[in-house]
Subunit: 110 residues, 2 copies
DNA sequence: ATATTATATTGCAATATTACGATAATAATT
DNA sequence: AATTATTATCGTAATATTGCAATATAATAT
Protein backbone atom coordinates (compact mmCIF):
# COMPACT_ATOMS: atom_id res chain seq x y z
CA UNK A 1 0.00 0.00 0.00
CA UNK A 2 2.54 2.65 1.05
CA UNK A 3 -0.23 4.74 2.56
CA UNK A 4 -0.02 5.52 6.26
CA UNK A 5 -3.32 5.06 8.10
CA UNK A 6 -3.20 8.39 9.89
CA UNK A 7 -6.91 8.26 10.71
CA UNK A 8 -6.44 5.60 13.37
CA UNK A 9 -3.91 7.63 15.36
CA UNK A 10 -4.28 10.63 17.62
CA UNK A 11 -3.55 14.04 16.11
CA UNK A 12 -0.72 14.42 18.55
CA UNK A 13 0.89 11.21 17.34
CA UNK A 14 0.53 12.15 13.69
CA UNK A 15 1.95 15.59 14.33
CA UNK A 16 4.92 14.26 16.25
CA UNK A 17 5.60 11.62 13.59
CA UNK A 18 5.48 14.25 10.84
CA UNK A 19 7.99 16.39 12.68
CA UNK A 20 10.34 13.44 13.05
CA UNK A 21 9.75 12.37 9.48
CA UNK A 22 10.90 15.59 7.87
CA UNK A 23 14.13 15.32 9.85
CA UNK A 24 14.57 11.72 8.76
CA UNK A 25 16.74 12.40 5.74
CA UNK A 26 20.44 13.26 5.83
CA UNK A 27 20.09 15.91 3.13
CA UNK A 28 17.55 17.78 5.22
CA UNK A 29 19.74 17.47 8.30
CA UNK A 30 22.67 18.77 6.26
CA UNK A 31 20.59 21.66 4.93
CA UNK A 32 19.45 22.67 8.41
CA UNK A 33 22.97 22.45 9.78
CA UNK A 34 24.31 24.51 6.92
CA UNK A 35 21.68 27.19 7.46
CA UNK A 36 22.41 27.21 11.18
CA UNK A 37 26.18 27.39 10.68
CA UNK A 38 26.03 30.20 8.14
CA UNK A 39 23.29 32.05 10.01
CA UNK A 40 21.74 32.66 6.58
CA UNK A 41 21.84 30.89 3.32
CA UNK A 42 20.77 30.74 -0.24
CA UNK A 43 19.90 27.61 -2.15
CA UNK A 44 22.81 27.91 -4.57
CA UNK A 45 25.23 27.58 -1.66
CA UNK A 46 23.72 24.22 -0.94
CA UNK A 47 24.09 22.96 -4.47
CA UNK A 48 27.82 23.63 -4.18
CA UNK A 49 28.03 22.32 -0.64
CA UNK A 50 26.05 19.10 -0.89
CA UNK A 51 26.45 16.71 -3.76
CA UNK A 52 22.88 16.79 -4.96
CA UNK A 53 21.26 18.27 -8.03
CA UNK A 54 19.64 21.66 -7.78
CA UNK A 55 16.17 20.18 -8.36
CA UNK A 56 16.68 17.72 -5.53
CA UNK A 57 17.76 20.36 -3.08
CA UNK A 58 14.89 22.60 -4.06
CA UNK A 59 12.56 19.71 -3.31
CA UNK A 60 14.06 19.10 0.13
CA UNK A 61 13.87 22.81 0.87
CA UNK A 62 10.20 22.71 -0.04
CA UNK A 63 9.53 19.91 2.42
CA UNK A 64 11.32 21.79 5.17
CA UNK A 65 9.40 24.91 4.24
CA UNK A 66 6.10 23.03 4.35
CA UNK A 67 6.63 22.14 8.00
CA UNK A 68 7.50 25.77 8.71
CA UNK A 69 10.87 24.95 10.25
CA UNK A 70 12.57 27.11 7.62
CA UNK A 71 11.30 30.12 5.75
CA UNK A 72 12.43 31.68 2.52
CA UNK A 73 12.43 35.33 1.57
CA UNK A 74 13.24 36.53 -1.90
CA UNK A 75 16.40 38.61 -2.01
CA UNK A 76 16.92 39.90 -5.50
CA UNK A 77 17.43 36.98 -7.76
CA UNK A 78 18.14 34.52 -4.99
CA UNK A 79 16.17 33.27 -2.01
CA UNK A 80 17.33 33.64 1.55
CA UNK A 81 16.36 30.59 3.56
CA UNK A 82 16.59 30.68 7.31
CA UNK A 83 15.33 28.91 10.39
CA UNK A 84 11.94 30.00 11.64
CA UNK A 85 12.82 30.07 15.28
CA UNK A 86 9.23 30.04 16.47
CA UNK A 87 8.57 26.75 14.70
CA UNK A 88 12.02 25.48 15.62
CA UNK A 89 11.17 25.99 19.28
CA UNK A 90 7.82 24.28 18.80
CA UNK A 91 9.60 21.28 17.33
CA UNK A 92 12.12 21.39 20.14
CA UNK A 93 9.35 21.36 22.74
CA UNK A 94 7.37 18.58 21.13
CA UNK A 95 10.36 16.35 20.71
CA UNK A 96 11.62 17.14 24.19
CA UNK A 97 8.21 16.30 25.66
CA UNK A 98 8.44 12.96 23.96
CA UNK A 99 12.00 12.17 24.97
CA UNK A 100 11.89 13.54 28.44
CA UNK A 101 9.17 11.11 29.44
CA UNK A 102 10.01 8.98 32.41
CA UNK A 103 10.99 5.72 30.76
CA UNK A 104 10.76 3.31 33.66
CA UNK A 105 12.20 0.05 32.55
CA UNK A 106 13.23 -1.62 35.79
CA UNK A 107 10.15 -3.79 36.29
CA UNK A 108 10.14 -5.26 32.80
CA UNK A 109 11.91 -7.94 30.80
CA UNK A 110 13.89 -8.99 33.84
CA UNK B 1 15.15 6.57 -7.74
CA UNK B 2 13.91 6.38 -4.15
CA UNK B 3 17.43 5.64 -2.98
CA UNK B 4 18.99 8.01 -0.47
CA UNK B 5 22.57 8.97 -1.35
CA UNK B 6 23.95 8.31 2.11
CA UNK B 7 27.54 8.19 0.84
CA UNK B 8 27.69 11.93 0.30
CA UNK B 9 26.78 12.77 3.89
CA UNK B 10 28.73 12.58 7.13
CA UNK B 11 28.17 9.50 9.29
CA UNK B 12 26.83 11.75 11.99
CA UNK B 13 24.20 13.14 9.64
CA UNK B 14 23.15 9.72 8.43
CA UNK B 15 22.93 8.42 11.96
CA UNK B 16 20.86 11.34 13.16
CA UNK B 17 18.56 11.09 10.15
CA UNK B 18 18.06 7.35 10.76
CA UNK B 19 17.12 8.01 14.35
CA UNK B 20 14.58 10.60 13.30
CA UNK B 21 13.31 8.41 10.50
CA UNK B 22 12.32 5.47 12.64
CA UNK B 23 10.29 7.86 14.79
CA UNK B 24 8.66 9.32 11.71
CA UNK B 25 5.61 7.07 11.69
CA UNK B 26 2.57 7.43 13.96
CA UNK B 27 2.31 3.67 14.53
CA UNK B 28 5.84 3.57 15.87
CA UNK B 29 5.17 6.58 18.09
CA UNK B 30 2.02 4.88 19.34
CA UNK B 31 3.90 1.64 19.99
CA UNK B 32 6.61 3.43 21.97
CA UNK B 33 4.06 5.39 23.98
CA UNK B 34 2.11 2.24 24.74
CA UNK B 35 5.24 0.45 25.93
CA UNK B 36 6.21 3.44 28.05
CA UNK B 37 2.75 3.76 29.57
CA UNK B 38 2.40 0.09 30.44
CA UNK B 39 6.02 -0.21 31.57
CA UNK B 40 6.06 -3.54 29.74
CA UNK B 41 4.19 -4.92 26.83
CA UNK B 42 3.54 -7.79 24.52
CA UNK B 43 2.80 -7.50 20.84
CA UNK B 44 -0.72 -8.90 21.12
CA UNK B 45 -1.67 -5.96 23.32
CA UNK B 46 -0.77 -3.69 20.45
CA UNK B 47 -2.90 -5.55 17.93
CA UNK B 48 -5.91 -4.92 20.16
CA UNK B 49 -4.86 -1.39 21.00
CA UNK B 50 -3.93 -0.03 17.57
CA UNK B 51 -6.06 -0.69 14.53
CA UNK B 52 -3.41 -2.43 12.48
CA UNK B 53 -2.96 -6.03 11.42
CA UNK B 54 -0.67 -8.27 13.43
CA UNK B 55 1.77 -8.54 10.53
CA UNK B 56 2.00 -4.77 10.25
CA UNK B 57 2.68 -4.28 13.94
CA UNK B 58 5.26 -7.03 13.93
CA UNK B 59 6.99 -5.19 11.10
CA UNK B 60 7.01 -1.87 12.94
CA UNK B 61 8.32 -3.61 16.06
CA UNK B 62 11.11 -5.06 13.97
CA UNK B 63 12.13 -1.61 12.73
CA UNK B 64 12.17 -0.27 16.26
CA UNK B 65 14.13 -3.30 17.40
CA UNK B 66 16.66 -2.81 14.60
CA UNK B 67 17.56 0.63 15.90
CA UNK B 68 17.90 -0.83 19.38
CA UNK B 69 15.42 1.57 20.96
CA UNK B 70 13.29 -1.36 22.06
CA UNK B 71 14.28 -4.89 22.92
CA UNK B 72 12.27 -8.07 23.01
CA UNK B 73 12.68 -10.99 25.35
CA UNK B 74 10.78 -14.22 24.90
CA UNK B 75 8.44 -14.94 27.78
CA UNK B 76 6.85 -18.28 27.23
CA UNK B 77 4.78 -18.06 24.10
CA UNK B 78 4.72 -14.31 23.95
CA UNK B 79 7.43 -11.68 23.62
CA UNK B 80 7.99 -8.93 26.11
CA UNK B 81 9.03 -5.76 24.37
CA UNK B 82 10.40 -2.90 26.35
CA UNK B 83 12.44 0.25 25.97
CA UNK B 84 16.19 -0.19 25.94
CA UNK B 85 16.97 2.74 28.15
CA UNK B 86 20.64 2.87 27.17
CA UNK B 87 19.75 3.36 23.52
CA UNK B 88 16.84 5.60 24.47
CA UNK B 89 19.26 7.89 26.27
CA UNK B 90 21.62 7.82 23.32
CA UNK B 91 18.77 8.92 21.07
CA UNK B 92 17.79 11.57 23.56
CA UNK B 93 21.32 12.96 23.64
CA UNK B 94 21.77 12.98 19.89
CA UNK B 95 18.48 14.69 19.27
CA UNK B 96 19.07 17.14 22.09
CA UNK B 97 22.49 18.01 20.69
CA UNK B 98 20.81 18.81 17.42
CA UNK B 99 17.95 20.83 18.82
CA UNK B 100 19.84 22.63 21.51
CA UNK B 101 22.11 24.26 18.97
CA UNK B 102 22.16 28.00 19.13
CA UNK B 103 19.90 28.96 16.27
CA UNK B 104 20.80 32.56 15.73
CA UNK B 105 18.35 34.02 13.31
CA UNK B 106 18.47 37.72 14.03
CA UNK B 107 20.91 38.74 11.30
CA UNK B 108 19.12 36.97 8.50
CA UNK B 109 16.12 37.44 6.24
CA UNK B 110 15.42 40.80 7.83
C1' DA C 1 0.05 -35.97 19.13
C1' DT C 2 -2.99 -32.19 18.31
C1' DA C 3 -4.86 -27.86 19.08
C1' DT C 4 -4.19 -23.30 20.51
C1' DT C 5 -1.86 -18.98 21.12
C1' DA C 6 1.60 -15.53 20.01
C1' DT C 7 4.76 -13.77 16.95
C1' DA C 8 7.60 -13.72 12.65
C1' DT C 9 8.16 -14.10 7.80
C1' DT C 10 6.85 -14.11 2.97
C1' DG C 11 4.74 -12.32 -0.96
C1' DC C 12 2.33 -8.88 -2.94
C1' DA C 13 -0.24 -4.52 -4.22
C1' DA C 14 -0.53 0.31 -3.66
C1' DT C 15 1.47 4.50 -2.61
C1' DA C 16 5.48 7.43 -1.23
C1' DT C 17 10.07 9.02 -1.59
C1' DT C 18 14.32 10.15 -3.73
C1' DA C 19 16.81 11.93 -7.41
C1' DC C 20 17.58 14.18 -11.70
C1' DG C 21 17.14 16.28 -16.43
C1' DA C 22 14.50 19.47 -18.79
C1' DT C 23 12.09 23.39 -18.64
C1' DA C 24 9.73 27.49 -16.74
C1' DA C 25 9.75 31.64 -14.12
C1' DT C 26 11.77 35.64 -12.22
C1' DA C 27 15.06 39.14 -11.41
C1' DA C 28 19.39 41.32 -12.32
C1' DT C 29 22.88 42.58 -15.68
C1' DT C 30 24.62 43.88 -20.08
C1' DA D 1 15.75 43.37 -25.57
C1' DA D 2 18.90 39.66 -24.83
C1' DT D 3 21.66 37.25 -21.56
C1' DT D 4 22.72 35.41 -17.27
C1' DA D 5 21.85 33.69 -12.64
C1' DT D 6 18.89 31.65 -9.31
C1' DT D 7 15.19 28.95 -7.93
C1' DA D 8 10.85 26.27 -8.79
C1' DT D 9 8.20 22.92 -11.16
C1' DC D 10 7.22 18.98 -14.14
C1' DG D 11 7.87 14.50 -15.70
C1' DT D 12 9.85 10.31 -14.98
C1' DA D 13 12.57 6.22 -13.33
C1' DA D 14 14.03 3.60 -9.52
C1' DT D 15 13.66 2.26 -4.96
C1' DA D 16 11.35 2.36 -0.32
C1' DT D 17 7.53 2.07 2.68
C1' DT D 18 3.13 0.72 4.29
C1' DG D 19 -0.22 -2.67 5.06
C1' DC D 20 -2.28 -7.11 4.88
C1' DA D 21 -3.44 -12.08 3.94
C1' DA D 22 -1.40 -16.30 4.11
C1' DT D 23 1.75 -19.09 6.00
C1' DA D 24 5.55 -20.53 9.09
C1' DT D 25 7.44 -21.08 13.59
C1' DA D 26 7.56 -21.86 18.43
C1' DA D 27 5.73 -22.60 22.90
C1' DT D 28 2.05 -24.10 25.73
C1' DA D 29 -2.16 -26.58 26.78
C1' DT D 30 -5.32 -30.34 26.10
Amino acid sequence: MGLTKTEIFADEQNKLASAFKVLGHPARIAILQHIIDKKACICNDLVDELGLAQATISQHLKELKNTGIIQGTIEGKSVCYCINDVIWKEFQQELNAFFNQDVNVSNCCG
